[in-house]
Every structure is written in C-alpha cells, then in structure tokens.
Subunit: 231 residues, 2 copies
Amino acid sequence: MNIFRLLKKNKLFADFDDSEINKIFDCLHGHINKYSRGRVVAEAGNPVTEVGIILEGSAVKFIRKPDGELVNCGELEVGDMFGEVEGYAGDRTYRSSVVLAEDSTVLYISIPTIVKQCSKNCPHHQKLLENTLSCLADRIDVINNDAKYLKIKSMRGKISKLFYDKYLAQGTNVIHLGFNRNEMAEYLNVSRPSMSREMIHMKEDGIISYRKDEIVIHDVEKLAELANSAR
Amino acid sequence: MNIFRLLKKNKLFADFDDSEINKIFDCLHGHINKYSRGRVVAEAGNPVTEVGIILEGSAVKFIRKPDGELVNCGELEVGDMFGEVEGYAGDRTYRSSVVLAEDSTVLYISIPTIVKQCSKNCPHHQKLLENTLSCLADRIDVINNDAKYLKIKSMRGKISKLFYDKYLAQGTNVIHLGFNRNEMAEYLNVSRPSMSREMIHMKEDGIISYRKDEIVIHDVEKLAELANSAR
DNA sequence: AATGTTTTGTAGCTTTGGCAACAAAGCCAT
DNA sequence: ATGGCTTTGTTGCCAAAGCTACAAAACATT
C-alpha cells in the first residue's frame, strides 16, 4: 500500500509532498486501522472526533429513518472521507452511519488537532487547515449548484441546464455525460421516460442529438437561453 | 454604534467578548467603512480577499445571468456577511455582486490573516478559525436539508416534511411557521394555490388544522409517516 | 366605520410529467 | 450465432400540480 499516492487522492492532502504526509503521524495524531467488510466505522448519533479517510476498500453511508428503515445515502471510494462535515457542524455527531462494503483500510486524523495549532506552527498543519476550509467551501458550491437543478421546474429547463453546464465545463459541442440515462434522471430528480421524451422533443427541435453517453449540441444559443431562463 | 453588540449577531464572533473583538483590529487587519445606498461592495468575478460583515444597514445579492439580467439571490441584514464562502472556494472570486440597499457600515476582515496563524498564536484568532469552520459546516447542513424538500416530489410530502421538521424543532403540536403562504410556497418551490389546495385536503383528512402562521398538528403519527416516506 | 392593502382561500382549465409496460438495441458471455 | 442481461427508446393513460382569475378575509390607516 502506497499511502502517499492514496492520500493524494484526498482533497485535504492533494498538495502534500511525501515528507509532509509522514508528519501526519506526529502532531496530527494520524493512525491507520484495517477492518473487514461489514464493519460499522461510524454510527449515526455518536460524537465525531476524527476525520476518516478510506485508503483501501470502500464504504456505504446510511441514514436511519425514524421508522427504522435504512436508506443508502452515498458511497465512499478510496480517497473519500467521512466526518469532515459533521466534525465541525452542529452538535458534532454523525448524521449517518458508515459501513464498509469490503475489507478496508482507514486513516484517522484527530479533528481537535487539525483545528488547534500545535506549538511548532508547522507549515503542513497550516496547509491542512486551509485545505479543510476550501474543501468545505467547495462542497457548498457544489451543493448549491445541484440545488439549482432541483429548483428548475420544467423538464426542458433541467436538461438544458445540465447539458449547458457540461458544455461550459468541457468546452466543446460534443459533450460526454458520464451518466447513463437512469443516473441522469436520478440526478435531475425526474422519471427516466419523461426525461427521454423531452430529449426527443429537443432533438426534433434541432437543439441536440445524441447517442448514449455522447451529446452533440447543435444550437448552443438556444440551449444557453433555455438553461438560463429556466424556472 | 455598538460594534460589540452588532458583531455578536455574526456567527464568527458570537462567542467573542468585548476585549477579544477589540483585538480584531490588530492582527486580523479589521477595518470599517461607511457607504451610501446603492454602493456595490462586491462585484461578481472579482477576487475575494476579505470577509465583509454588515454592521449597519442592509444589502442585496445579485447574480448576473449570461444574458445580462440581474437576479436577486438573497438579502443581507445586520450581522450577515459576504465572501465567507467564495473566499475559500474554487478560484476565490465572488459568485454574486453585493449592492447596499441603504446607507450601511461594513466591517472587513482579511481572509489570509484569518487562515494564517500569526506568530503570537492568539486565542481569539484560534476561535475565529474554529467558528469559520463550523459556520461553513453548518451551512452545508442547512443546504442539504433544504435540498431534501426540493427532492420530494409530492405536494403532501413536501408540506408534511416541513411541518414535521418544525414540530421536531419546536417540540409542540402547535407550530409557528415564520412564513406566510407565499414564502412557504417559494421555499418548497411550488405554486401557492396548489399548496393551499393540498393543505385543505390534509385538513379534511384530520391531519392538521391552521390559521395563518399557526399550524395545529392533530395526527403526529400520520404526519411523521408522510414526512418520512415522502419521495 | 370606511377604505385600501395584503394575505389567504377557491375554482376551473390546462399542461406536465409520473408510471407501467413493452419494444428495441447494445453488450457480453458461452 | 445464441441466448441472457442491461440500457435505451416508445407509448398511452392519468393524476398531480401549474396558472389565471377572482372572492373572501384579515389587517392597517385614516
């Protein structure tokens, strides 16, 4: 296991060099645990004292509804972390439980030591703090953007905004979704057939054409207008 | 102007005592500006170097759509701030412009000095950093919860979740919304008449009754079930 | 009390999009 | 190629919710 390579997948450590990563185990109280599949590494309601980072394996997040039903609310892959929001918010308890989906290795870093500067004023400590801040701020940006899709009421508006955003991000008329139809429908919070139907109309109107994951934008003007005027 | 009282309305300084607030002007490079109504204190696209806090007056946030149209995307009252997300996220430029709605006083605090520990390792500096982290993390919590409402598709589900959340928060069967119907409809992202219609049905079904801002929950069980099973 | 203003309730009509069910096409393996 | 499996396209029906417009009530102000 190359901990250096693995950790750099994580936003908190993306710009750390190997020697800095080594220091994590000193003043940040970093420690590594190996668990087997099915292990519950975070239990909703329990206090959060550490950020956990998946170094090997994967996990699933669950929330428990009042009626007892467990609802999958996200997957964690290598480099993903848990507790990085709950550890600073509200009453500092886990909102969701994290269950390992396979045998996994988890690196923990103590939250109080991230926040409190140690006496040495180490630069890597400083860096971690800044990264934590950007990580949270970036997250807000992402969620805010996702919420925009949800607020648009018309099917055409949702689809247009998604395609237009991808167009802006990828900078070409031929965009790749990185979604299949099901996932796209789920992301936009609509039913797949209804979405499909509207995509056909947009094709008939000469705005787009598509084949599977690949969307060709024929009328960028129109798409932009639809995306921006969408209510 | 009592800067101590005013600043304590802000989440970053809520737990500061007066002597600590005074130190803001030392190592945090705090400074206060007075502006007149209409002044643009933040321009979308410009780099963010400071967090701004409204001490007197109020402001409106606008985003400019590609077609040039300005869209109101939020109001700022005394104690509210701007730049506290953009200052740490992405390319650190303002997403929106902030225009003062009346003659106002604004306190600025330099972001780099919030993040970098000064040599003195002052405790208030430390506190500010922790507050910034909780502020961002709390925000994520709030947005995440708002998004839940948007994801629920049925009218009854949205209304039920809103009322149930208020019930949990207020701990009584007689809840107060803090919304008028228009605002409530806007928050749930639905049309007011449709919402009204469904509220009537829920009344007919003996789940709730209401008069203006005051909602009485007659069947908590049922409401909970509706709120939690809502898709 | 009278008047204007805002908020809330009501009704009818229309559109949208959900849903179920099925068809067609792609994609793998054997 | 053959048969399973997944993804995508297609259809029709129907319920849900949007919208306009208006009525009624509540509230405020003179």
